[in-house]
Symmetry: none
Subunit: 196 residues, 4 copies
């Protein structure tokens, strides 16, 4: 039941934002009464926090490099992009809720990002810097590489409506994600690795 609720709530939060979502609508969406919803989550904010927490946990796990020392920078980055795109494909509403929270100034998860994401980010930055020093990558600012990858991959979830509109189709298909993967990995890798 709790899982059902969280799924339904996530969908509503993604569409209406925190303030625009009503407990009534969420309850409807889950198929229970508003009071029963409040039985499980004693307040809207608590429910939102729980939804957000789950999302952030899922997110953090994939916002940093998998530690695979045996792989080349190219392989690691390609895998990373692929993983992020899969996340956008499989959890689009989660991505939207996360996006809205951050755009609105991350009032709830600021601390969490600071204490949890930042250290992992710093570690990854160092790794990319080493690759640059070793001439495995061209001379780039690693921070911006990450901001770009995050943006480009998450946009397929967050801005899906715009993308669908531009593509002239009602829903993104697997094929589109394949193309995105192909495009992004190719562009990024060619863009940041010096030609031999």
């Amino acid at each position: 039941m709790e899982t059902n609720i969280l799924r339904g709530a996530e969908k509503v939060f993604a569409e209406f934002g925190f303030h625009g979502s009503t407990m009534d609508r969420i309850a409807d969406n889950v198929g229970i009464s508003k009071q029963n919803l409040l039985y499980y989550y004693p307040s809207k904010e608590r429910l939102y926090r729980t939804v957000l927490q789950n999302i952030v946990d899922l997110w953090l796990e994939r916002m940093t490099f998998a530690d695979e020392p045996s792989q080349s920078p190219e392989q690691i980055i390609a895998n990373y992009v692929r993983g992020k795109l899969e996340l956008s494909r499989d959890y689009p509403t989660a991505s939207k809720v996360f996006a809205m929270e951050v755009i609105a100034g991350a009032p709830i998860i600021k601390d969490y990002l600071q204490t949890r994401l930042k250290p992992l980010f710093d570690k990854d930055i160092k790794l990319v810097r080493r690759w640059v020093r070793n001439k495995q990558l061209s001379s780039i600012k690693p921070e911006h590489l990450f901001f770009s990858i995050w943006a480009m991959t998450q946009t397929y979830a967050d801005f899906s409506v715009q993308i669908e509109l531009m593509m002239g189709k009602p829903k993104l298909e697997q094929k589109d994600f394949d193309h995105a993967t192909e495009f992004l990995t190719t562009m990024i890798l060619r863009g940041i690795v010096d030609p031999k």
Copy 2:
């Protein structure tokens, strides 16, 4: 006065979303009374639509290539990226309002995007296709190029809080936008132009 109101409203809408923004807060932000605000804009939705309209106009103008037949693809794309980044730097709240609207499913501006942006987008796509055909660009899917550029440039406005957190600074500076410009243009161009 109207301009003042729109500026204030935009800021509030960016932070709280449509539903989370109250006429009271907007009025406060502008420095007038709620009733006076309603004198200028007879309803909250009307105010929101006006804000959004202004944003979209600004946006559309820059979401497509400037028509400069004398320039090379590289120059056009580089200018485009630069322009989009300037927009993010100069109108971050506008960008956020636009982003929230689109993430929420573009309930208000869907039609507008369909009728106004889509044709321009199609035209640009054709242009890029021609460049590809002429081997001026490598063999890429043009749609994804646009989605990526939009995402990467707008992220400096929309996700500024996250970026600032990761950079460990309270506010993005001109220098950061310079680095972003440098990084993005370099990566994109190297990424989509075959080495000679």
Copy 3:
């Protein structure tokens, strides 16, 4: 168990009044679950009535003179005052619940007071009148004697917070009740008995 519940409920009712008391809080106070509380008392009003019933029974028993024909008026009145003060000392929360009920207009116990207390009161009034006729007491209105005694003795329970505040101590002690007894009996008896 029932006794435990009644004790806990009385405490809560005394602090929050009928409307301000929740079954949850009472259950908490007793150390059982709300549903279990409802197993013993099927409704909040039923519980309140029971609490009140017990209090009123205790009260009525002491709101009238003990029938001791062998004693002098002075002795009877002194004993009465003493007894009422002991009641305030030993059952302060009961007194408070009773007080709140009466102040609020006695919606529940009006009938009970009418049918049970009134006759006893009338009997006592007659007795005091006889004493007055016999010159054992000075010429007073007996009703007001009772209202005064009730008020003065119950105030040590009902207004204990104010009294403690004025006395500058966290809790009334036995000594304070001794002083009150001494003061009240002396003042009352000197006040209503003609000096010889």
Copy 4:
């Protein structure tokens, strides 16, 4: 309007206590809409505090001796009792609200009593002590004199229902207050002044 509201609210608070009073009922009582009530007092607690504040101000003013150095202790005390009884007669609902607040532990006005009433009380206590030392009064504990007078005079407001029930009349009349005044002043003065 504000005065109307406060009067109506006082009546409702006196009958139902803070928790039992609803904004709806108060609004009804005043003859305005609930929302309009909230326009004037933005929350129930704020309204209650205001009502209580007014009452306490009225109360404090009369809970201590008027400073009349020219008068004898007997005169001062008699006037004091008279004044308190008038207060009970003229502001019975105010008295009830005050009583309920104190009985419930004075959650709101504890501080106020501590900082405002206590100093005045201490001053009066000292004055009575001097009278005792000067043999103008018999050897009594002054604190208890005050607690008793407060209780005896306020009971005609707070416990009016019980008193009316015992007197067998629907409402206390001026005559009853005259009798109470007569009874109380006589009993108290004879009770605390040594016969000459």
